[in-house]
Subunit: 175 residues, 2 copies
Amino acid sequence: MFHARGYDAVGVADLTAALDIKPPSLYAAYGSKLGLFERALQSYVETDFLPVGEILATDADPARALTNLFVAAARHYTRNPERRGCMITEAMRADDAEAAAVASAFGERGSKIIHDYIVAHASPEAVDRILDYVLVNLRGLSSFACLGHTAEKLVGCSEVAGGALKAEFAASAAG
Amino acid sequence: MFHARGYDAVGVADLTAALDIKPPSLYAAYGSKLGLFERALQSYVETDFLPVGEILATDADPARALTNLFVAAARHYTRNPERRGCMITEAMRADDAEAAAVASAFGERGSKIIHDYIVAHASPEAVDRILDYVLVNLRGLSSFACLGHTAEKLVGCSEVAGGALKAEFAASAAG
DNA sequence: GGGAATTTTTAGCGATCACTAAATAAGAGC
DNA sequence: GCTCTTATTTAGTGATCGCTAAAAATTCCC
């Protein structure tokens, strides 16, 4: 439910109804709504998170590998109609500051994998802007998936996005 | 306030306190919280919306013009610490479905301007994917601005994003 | 089976949500 | 100044929010 509707739009009443328990049981088990949310994020990371490392290993060419990441994200974020977008990325924008902070901490892990990959393949002064570009694009893809756009559409613009990476890594190799 | 915190996180109590009136006055003037929100969006469009048409007219080269749009967005979305990101783009993701729908209607206007510009400069089969790419990027930029990222960072990845446009419009011109 | 520990529920809590009927105050016209 | 109209406030409404003290039910161990 948190994935489908975000932290703020899901109330304890919704959660207890879905779990078929009463509020004190939820609090006994998870401590708070936020505690349950953290558990849900953890579970998402373990079971449904985009396998970034694996995808980046699919091609020796960094531009192609990162484009594959975009395409995989586009497909991943649209594959389940009940759970569109990236739960973590979307939760980073929760109205509740604590929920947003928790999600950001989880998000840092994925970003680090991508960062390390880019460090290993680009010239030092290009690393930050490539990383930012990749993260901004993933953010946009997740959001568009949530808004209901099709996989086809998102894959299409992911391929376009790959063009920028080609140029950047070519410049890094030449520099 | 709606810009800074979104529709859902701002309550009628916050609004009446800021306007120094009591709730029935707000309802007398605007009909509902949503009514006030629409007015705020309208005001935003008239006073603070990215001047898309003007920016696209800054360069005869479409790739450069659209890159200028990204750069302008990056600067625009970060210029006021109290009002980060694009109010309309962010409101499209409101928890309240009516608020989100109203914001989407406003968003269509900006998208149409960009769409028409791309139709005039790209080959027909590339139009949709370029447009989607541009919109996904703008979405990501707005979101990152809201998350507190610097103008510098966002301008940097906007320039990277422009690389993809160069490739696309070169292909369109060749095709 | 009985007692203690654990789990779950009942029955709320104080706060906030968007909104409103009725009363009061302010403004306009004579 | 008086009366009528308009604007604003007072004093709530019913619903939902995240959460909890106390009571009841269930489980575990002897």
